[in-house]
């Protein structure tokens, strides 16, 4: 048997801030990555030459 939730009173609703749309991209720890993953850079292993 399924149960239906009680309808909520609109006055009980506490709207939060509007969600901010997140553009597509990989998610790194806490950051949304923008742009190409292959842009040239340097690391401790050397630079992309």
């Amino acid at each position: 048997m399924t149960s239906r939730p009680e309808p909520r009173d609109a006055a009980e609703e506490t709207p939060g801030p509007a969600p901010v749309p997140v553009p597509p991209g990989l998610v790194t720890p806490g950051l949304v990555t923008l742009g190409s993953e292959d842009a040239p850079a340097c690391s401790d292993g050397g630079c992309v030459w």
């Binding site: 901010v20 842009a39 040239p40």
Partner: protein
Amino acid sequence: MRIEVWSDVVCPWCYIGKRRLERALSGFEHAGEVEVVWRSFQLDPSTPRGARVPVRETIAQKMGGSMKQVMAMTEHVSSLAAQEGLAYDFDRSVSANTFDAHRLTHLAAAHGLGGEMHERLLSAQLIEGETLDDAETLVRLGAEVGVPAGDARRMLAGDEYAEDVRDDVREAQALGVSGVPFFVLDRAYGVSGAQPVETFASALRTAYEHAGAATGRS
């Protein structure tokens, strides 16, 4: 909007990325609301101080390539730098431990000159063949952008700003940054490497809109 840039002063892609970000900012209508902060990153903290090894030799040792291959690689990045108005001179560049150069940037930032100092150091390393782990060289370069020589000498003789440099490096690790340049916009977006100008321009717009939506800016 705050843009933090993790960069090392010996990094050829960092200087190219800096120029491309600057070009994107010059066309961004809200550039006056953008603060750019330069954060320290050492590509090779084990580089011995005062070694004076030509950069091409360091590259050859690291990559195991022939000098002919290294010449081709440095010529490639130099040609791309030239498109940004940067005349790299790998004939004169020597490897340096950049820890003190980063400390100098932090000192300069305390004088409101962090961006100017980072620019001066990049040019000194990649274009002018300066030795960035020589204390008197750093004092002179600092003075050229307005950092009092006495302050620089005192700082270099002690360990002031050493923890700030280490904090930047730890922060980079915490954010998952393993290469430079790395741009963090409002601690919400990350842009890795020397991206095209159009990518920086798009990232600026995206971050600005995101910040506006979050604050209810109309």
